[in-house]
Every structure is written in C-alpha cells, then in structure tokens.
C-alpha cells in the first residue's frame, strides 16, 4: 500500500506548494492548510501502512495480541494536527487584519515592512 500513499503524499505536497507560491494570501492560506495534511501523510506512510488494527491493547493482555498499526507516527501526527491548526488559525487572523488595514490581499501590495523605494543607507558614521 505504501507506493499508493507515496504518490498521494506527493500530490498533496504539489498542490500545497503551488498554492503557496501564489501571490493571493487566501490561496496561500489554502496551501498552508493542505501542507499540514501532506506532512501528516508523509509521517504516516513512513511508519508503514497496516489496515484496520488500531494500536490498542485488549483487556487482560499486557502487549498487543498481534501486529497493529504503528503507534509512534500516530502520536507525532496527533501533535502535528493540533499545531498546524493553531498555526493556520493564526495566519488566517493575521491575513484578515492585514486585509482590513492595508486593503490588499495581494503580497505585491503589502510592503509596509520592506518598502519598495527604500533608499540607500546613510553613508556617514
């Protein structure tokens, strides 16, 4: 099953990078949301794919009865999902504020921090 997941991960990453390379902030936000899924799939596939057996130990046993899905990537992904969501929410609000104050949703027109016509630095001491 891994080759299928490898292709799927690649596709997720392609779409997300393409969206992030756009100049419109809303498309970049969509790209960021998809990037989280791409990375999660990457982690998931790395831990190898096993169908339908969650890593839960049955009552009365000390170790899982048979082979289960790999718990480690799942734990990592669980953390990653939450963090990428907070990140996404922050970016979204930032974009919303930026749009409100600058009236622009295009990165070409968001030049407050690094203005286009910043002259040369002073030459004195």
């Amino acid at each position: 099953m891994e080759p299928v997941f490898a292709l799927l991960t690649g596709l997720f990453l392609t779409v997300s990078v393409y969206l992030m390379l756009s100049k419109s902030i809303i498309r970049m936000l969509l790209g960021v949301a998809i990037l989280g899924n791409a990375v999660n799939l990457l982690l998931f596939t790395n831990g190898r794919i096993l169908r339908e057996v969650p890593p839960v130990i049955a009552a009365g046993l000390d170790v899982p009865a048979g082979p289960t899905a790999n718990p480690l990537p799942q734990a990592l992904i669980l953390t990653a999902i939450v963090i990428s969501f907070s990140f996404f929410a922050f970016l979204l609000v930032l974009a919303w504020r930026a749009y409100g104050t600058l009236g622009a949703d295009n990165t070409d027109r968001m030049r407050v921090a690094e203005p286009e016509d910043g002259g040369p630095p002073p030459s004195g001491y």
């Binding site: 490898a6 756009s22 899924n37 734990a75 669980l78 749009y99 968001m110």
Partner: protein, 794 residues
C-alpha cells in the same frame, strides 16, 4: 592572602573602581578623581613591591584553571617585562585620573569617563600580566573596546564617532589575526602559556607553520601599535579627550603591540624573517611618522605622529637583533612613556586654558603659564634626547645599537638620526613656540592651570629627571630585568648620564644640531610636506572611508537583491531549494527507489476515498468562487480523516474530523466577511514556473518516501511502546500513552504553542485603532512626534 591571590584581586580592582566611579562623581563632583586615583596608586605600590624579587631573577605567577578541558588557564605571570608595563600603566594611570578630574571638571558625563578610563586600565593591566594566550586575547580586545568607548566619548561629533569606529575596526580586526596566530602557536607548541612557550623557541622556529604564525601575530601587533600602513587610526584617535590621548594613545595601549613582540621575542625572534620584517616596518613607521608630524599644526596631532614614529623605532629595535638593541628598546620605551605622557598633558592644558591647539594661533604664553612652560620644557628636553634626562640615556643606547658598519645598520642609523632630528624639532615646536614670542589673542584668556592639571605632567617630567639621575637603581630594578625577560637571557643595562666619547655621542650631537635647524625651518618644511601630501592625494585614511563605503554599498545591493521585500520571491527561493535538496542527492548518489509495485487488491471503498481526496485537491486548485474553495478544502481534509480511520488510526481520524470542521467554519466566517477571491488571476507564463517547482517538490517527496519505505523497517521504538505502555504506564491505547506519558513534555510544549497562538489571535482580533498603528510604522509618513525623536537621536 599570598602574593598571587592579592595580585588576582589587584587585577580586579580597576573594574570595581569603574563600577564605583559614576556614583562617586555624582556625590563628590570632580573631586571623585582624588579618590579614584587611589586605585592605580595602590596597584602601583603593590606591583612595586615585587621589584626586588624580580630583579633577583624571580617571577610572580598564579591563577586558576579556566577551561581545563582545553588546557586554558586564567593565569598571570609577572617578570621584568610585565612589571615595567604594570608600573607604567598604574603609575601614569594614577596621574591621568587626577588630570582627568581637572580636565573634565563640570562635564555632565565625567563619571562615565572615569569609569571607562578605569575599565581600560584594568584591561591593559590584564593584558600585560596575562600568561595564558586566551587571557591575553580577551584583554587585548577589551582594550580595543574600552579605547572605542573613550575615543567616541564626545559621541555627538561625527569625527569622534568615525575615529572610534576606525580604531575599533583596525585594532579589533588585528586582534582576530592575533587570535589566529596564537591558536597556530598553540597547535605548533602544544602549550597555551607564554611561560611554557618561552622554552619551546627552537621547536616553533623549526615548524613549517612558523612563518604563518609570525605573520598573523605581526598583523595583530602592527595594528595595535599603529605601524605603517595601519597607522592612520592613531592620529584620528586624537578626537578623544586629551587624558585619553596621553594615556592610551601614547603611554600604554599603543605599546601593547610592542609588548607582544617583546614577549614573543625569545620564541619567534632571531630568525631572518623576524629581523627583516620588524626593522622594515618599524623603519617605515619611524620615517613616515616623523615626516607627517612636521606637517601638522595641531599640538595633539604633532605629538600623535611622533608617537607613531617612536613606536616604529621600538619595533625596529625589538627586531633588529644587534647588541644593545633590546636594552635600547627598554630604555626608550620607559623614557617615551614619561616624556610623551607629559607633553600630551601639556598640550591638553594649553587647549584647556586658551581654547585652541593650533600652534600657529599660539604665542607668548610664558607669562600667563610659567609652570606649564617649565614642565613642557623639561619633557621636551627629554624627548629631544638632551642630558640630564632619561631621554638622553635612551638615545645613547639607541645609537649604540645602530653603530655598526654593515649596510643595514648604516641605513637605519641615518634614518634614525633624521627622524630623531625631526622629532626634536616637533618637541620644541610643541613645548617652546606656544610660550615664546609675542602674545597672541586666543579664544580664552590664558591663565595658569589648576593644580589637578599640572600635577600629572609635572610629576612625569620630574620622573624623567629622577630616572636619569638615579639610573643605577632604574637599571637594577627595571631596565635590566625587563631586557633579560625580552632577550630570554640575562642582560645588564649600565648606561648612565656620564657621556662616553664615541660614535653614539657624535650621533646625538648631530641629531641636536639637525633638530635645531629643523626647528628654525619648521614652517618651510611644513609647506613642502603639505605640497607633497597634496600631490600624493590618497592615503590609507581615505582608503578606510572608501573601504567602509564600499562595504555598505555592497551589502545594500546584496540585501536589495536577496531581501527585496517580495514575499513570492522568498517563497519561490525557499521551495526551489527544498526541491533541489530533495531531488539532487537522489540523482547524484544514485539513490533512486526501485520501480514501485502497486498492490492489485485494493478494496473499492479505499480506492474511492483516495479518489475523493484527489478530486478535493484539484477542486481547491480550480475553485472559481469562495464557497467552492472552502467546501473542496473540507473534502480533502475529511478524506484524509477517513484514510486515517481505514488504516488503523481512529484517534487521528477523530482529531482530524474536528480540526477540519473548525477550519472550514473559521475559513467560511473570514472569507465571507472579506470579499476575497480564491482564483489566481495571473497569466499562464507566470504560473508555469510555480507549477514546475511544486511538481518538483511533490516528485521529490514521492521518490524519497518510496525509497524510505523500500528500506527494511526498524521497529525498535514501536516495539518499546507496545511492550511497555500497559506494563509501565498502565494504558491500553498505545497512542494516548505515548502522548500523555512517554512524550508528556512534548505535549506540554504543544499545548504551550496552541496557547500562544490563541493569545496572538486574541490580541490581533482585539487590537484597536490598527489603522493608526500601521501608519506610524510607515517610514514615508511624516509625523511630527516621530520626526522629533529622530532629530533628537541625531
């Protein structure tokens, strides 16, 4: 406490004094200098107590391990060489602190100035007492930094800022060369202490890295001691208040380079390279300094260039390797510190009491300032090498060292005589011509300086006389031990004021005659040199400006290109780099995965979910309106959640469902409030490179993942968690156990990130009056209040 412990304490004392100086000055005003001068005075007495022991051939050493794993010790070693420097630094230091108390009386930042001065004193004492390489380097750079602070003391003037920056760049940069040289010496010899290095001279000289180490050390020493062509920072450093010029830039700091050369003479000296490079650069500096000093009309600048010339002479003598040369260097160093310190302070007094330092604007001060005149004359006699002052003994020894009949000595002797004659002329131009002749109107009405001002130069000038009269004691306690430490073998200095008929005396007489002639023709010489320099046009000082300007322009154009302020450029570069990092090694090292074998028995429902995810992705790409984009984003997210569910990760699936729902809801809220369009309006040719980069990234990830999954799986960690989550952590759900137990701290960090993001979002949402805030940040917008602060900063 024993001598070693007391000495460590003594080395800390100036820094403690520096801490107390601002407060003391606030309480006592300029009289704080009287209290603070006790610090160097106590140090002087402390170090003088070692004189007898060291004269008998002993050393005082101590210290503790600093970084034992690197064999680095914070250790000091006081031998004849260190002792002379320690006495000069603390003795002259005490007089300078007193002088500064009078000179900057009433200055609003006098406390700060005294603090800097004491910090410098501590650094300089540490430098000459240091035994460990690293300790020497640290104090070396500390003297550069404190010198920067002192030169730039009048920081509201651009000239002072430039001079401070220049001195820091030249001497600090030279310090880095020195560090490299010391590390090389460490590698060659295997020791980090000068006391151990001294016996390893033959081993160091035989090393193939000897020349490299020598050159690196020489750059460090030459920048610090203002040797040609690094001399230009020293005259500019005269922007500093006069106590600084007298102390740092004539008596102590500029001699640090000479000190280093003397310290390393037993290790690096006595080779062809040493005896070529040192006399060459020393000689060039000697002549250039003497010529340039004649050109000046500013008292301090005249003295600064003669200092440069004297430093050249010291380097020359250290490197020449002739009999009497080391002894001459020792005597000249001591004599120079005494007379040049005094003359600088005299120049400061004249500046302070008349308001000008221009020698052409001064005259007839002898009636108003008789005491200063007397002090100036005494110091000038010593500088001119006249009996009965210590300068005379030094000059005799210098000429004795150069009185040889080989061509090199003859050339150097001629240069020395000519330069000394010019210095003689300059000495009297500083000390005689402002006082004689007709009275000239000066910006301030001249009157005698207060006691605090003439105490320092007076005592120094007197010391020049006493040292000469008591030359036997001087030689026994100072000159001979110091010369022995430099030579690495016992040396006796015996010259006294009694003139010995011979070549040295004849050369001295010739110097005096030529000096008097030069003094009489000074104006003509000055005009000739001015014309010569104007014809040359370019000098290293202007070169420094060009280099700094070029550096600023280069970094500006580089920044312009790399940080052009366009987010899409940054993103393109970042992802292009990611694609390169992913793909290039795979192809370059032949690590491509085998052709994958796709399983044939994928159940239909799994295929369908994967297909829905792909459709969702493309729908996001192609969405024409907001709602479609949001819904499509939801589709791919929920598909991923279903995939997690199908492949044994119900926890992930559950979380993903919640998060995706939240994402869609929030996105819908924001996007319906703003009229944002999700479509890309750019023409095809602009999106094509983006698509190529995106495809390359995706391809890289796929190939890498295929390669990874084709390798055998290492299940150690998985086994561990499966094994112990029930037995140790008492949880049945292994994923949950990992999160809350095995990796609990990680989860704590995750919660912190979520919380910080939440706070940031909250503050962004509730931020009021944001329009104004952004406008304030706009550099183009003219606001009265910000313009005012910018002006104030300038």
């Amino acid at each position: 406490m024993n001598a070693a412990g007391l000495t460590l304490l003594a080395l800390c004392l100036p820094f403690l004094g520096a801490l107390a100086a601002p407060l003391l000055t606030r309480i006592l005003g300029h009289r704080a200098a009287l209290v603070l001068a006790l610090v160097p005075a106590v140090l002087f007495l402390h170090f003088a107590g070692f004189a007898a022991e060291i004269a008998a051939g002993g050393v005082v050493s101590g210290g503790y391990d600093w970084v034992p794993s690197f064999d680095v010790r914070f250790s000091f070693l006081i031998d004849g060489l260190s002792l002379t420097f320690l006495l000069l630094i603390s003795g002259i230091g005490a007089l300078i602190v007193l002088y500064a108390g009078g000179y900057l009386r009433g200055h609003p930042h006098q406390g700060r100035f005294l603090s800097f001065l004491l910090m410098f004193m501590g650094s300089m004492l540490g430098l000459v007492a240091a035994d460990g390489f690293l300790m020497l380097f640290v104090f070396w750079e500390l003297t550069s930094i404190t010198s920067f602070l002192l030169i730039g003391f009048d920081h509201h003037r651009e000239a002072a800022r430039r001079a401070a920056f220049q001195a820091l760049l030249v001497t600090g940069g030279g310090g880095l060369f020195l560090l490299a040289g010391l590390i090389l010496l460490w590698t060659i010899s295997g020791t980090t202490q000068f006391s151990l290095l001294a016996d390893l001279g033959p081993q160091v000289k035989a090393s193939p890295f000897y020349l490299a180490a020598l050159l690196l050390v020489l750059v460090g020493a030459f920048t610090k001691s203002a040797q040609f062509p690094f001399h230009f920072w020293l005259p500019n450093a005269m922007e500093a208040p006069t106590p600084v010029s007298a102390y740092l830039h004539s008596a102590t700091m500029v001699k640090a380079g000479v000190y280093l050369l003397m310290r390393l003479n037993p290790v690096l000296g006595d080779t062809a390279a040493w005896q070529t490079l040192l006399p060459l650069f020393g000689g060039l500096t000697l002549v250039a300094g003497a010529l340039l000093s004649v050109r000046q009309t500013d008292l301090k600048l005249m003295l600064a260039y003669t200092t440069m010339s004297s430093l050249g002479l010291l380097v020359l003598l250290t490197g020449i390797g002739m009999p009497h040369a080391i002894e001459a260097a020792v005597l000249y160093l001591v004599a120079h510190s005494l007379f040049k310190g005094a003359l600088f302070m005299v120049a400061g007094i004249i500046d302070h009491e008349t308001g000008t330092r221009d020698v052409t604007q001064l005259g007839g001060l002898r009636r108003a300032m008789p005491l200063t005149f007397g002090i100036a004359l005494v110091a000038a006699f010593s500088m001119g090498g006249m009996a009965p002052f210590v300068g005379f003994i030094a000059k005799e020894e210098v000429y004795a060292a150069l009185s040889s009949l080989d061509p090199r000595s003859i050339i150097l002797a001629v240069l020395a005589v000519l330069s000394n004659a010019l210095m003689f002329a300059v000495a009297f131009a500083v000390a005689l011509s402002p006082f004689i002749g007709k009275s000239v109107n000066t910006p301030k009405k001249p009157h005698e300086a207060p006691a605090l001002l003439y105490l320092g130069p007076g005592l120094l000038a007197l010391a020049g006389l006493v040292a000469a009269l008591g030359s036997t004691t001087l030689h026994r306690l100072v000159s001979s031990p110091m010369a022995s430490a430099i030579a690495g073998e016992a040396r006796m200095v015996s010259l006294s004021l009694m003139p010995h008929l011979g070549l040295p005396l004849a050369l001295s007489a010739l110097t005096a005659v030529l000096g008097i002639l030069a003094y009489l023709m000074l104006t003509r010489l000055r005009c000739a040199l001015a014309a010569l320099l104007a014809w040359l046009g370019w000098g290293p000082d202007r070169g420094f400006d060009q280099a700094v300007g070029g550096l600023v322009r280069l970094s500006f154009s580089l920044t312009r290109r790399l940080q052009n302020g366009r987010l899409d450029t940054y993103m393109t570069v970042t992802f292009a780099m990611i694609a390169i990092v992913l793909l290039v090694p795979l192809f370059l090292f032949g690590e491509l995965p085998r052709p994958p074998i796709f399983p044939a028995d994928i159940p239909l429902h799994e295929l369908a979910v994967i297909a829905i995810a792909v459709i969702g992705l493309f729908a996001v790409l192609l969405a024409a309106d907001r709602l479609t984009a949001i819904v499509s984003l939801g589709i791919q997210g929920f598909s991923v959640a279903v995939i997690f569910l199908l492949y044994g990760a119900p926890d992930l699936s559950f979380t993903q469902f919640m998060i995706e729902t939240l994402t869609v809801v929030i996105l819908a809220l924001v996007m319906t409030r703003l009229r944002l369009s999700p479509t890309d309006h750019r023409p095809f040719r602009e999106t094509l490179p983006d698509a190529a980069i995106a495809l390359a990234c995706g391809l890289g990830a796929t190939l890498l993942l295929l390669k990874v999954t084709q390798a055998p799986f290492d299940g150690v960690l998985t086994e561990f968690f499966n094994q112990y989550s029930k037995t140790i952590a008492h949880g049945a759900n292994v994923v949950n156990v990992i999160i809350v137990d095995f990796r609990g701290t990680d989860t704590l960090g995750e919660i912190a990130v979520v919380m910080i993001a939440g706070l940031a979002i909250l503050s962004l949402v509730r931020l009021g009056g944001s329009q104004r805030r952004i406008a304030d940040n706009d550099p183009d917008a003219e606001h009265d209040d910000t313009a005012g602060t910018v002006e104030a900063r300038r």
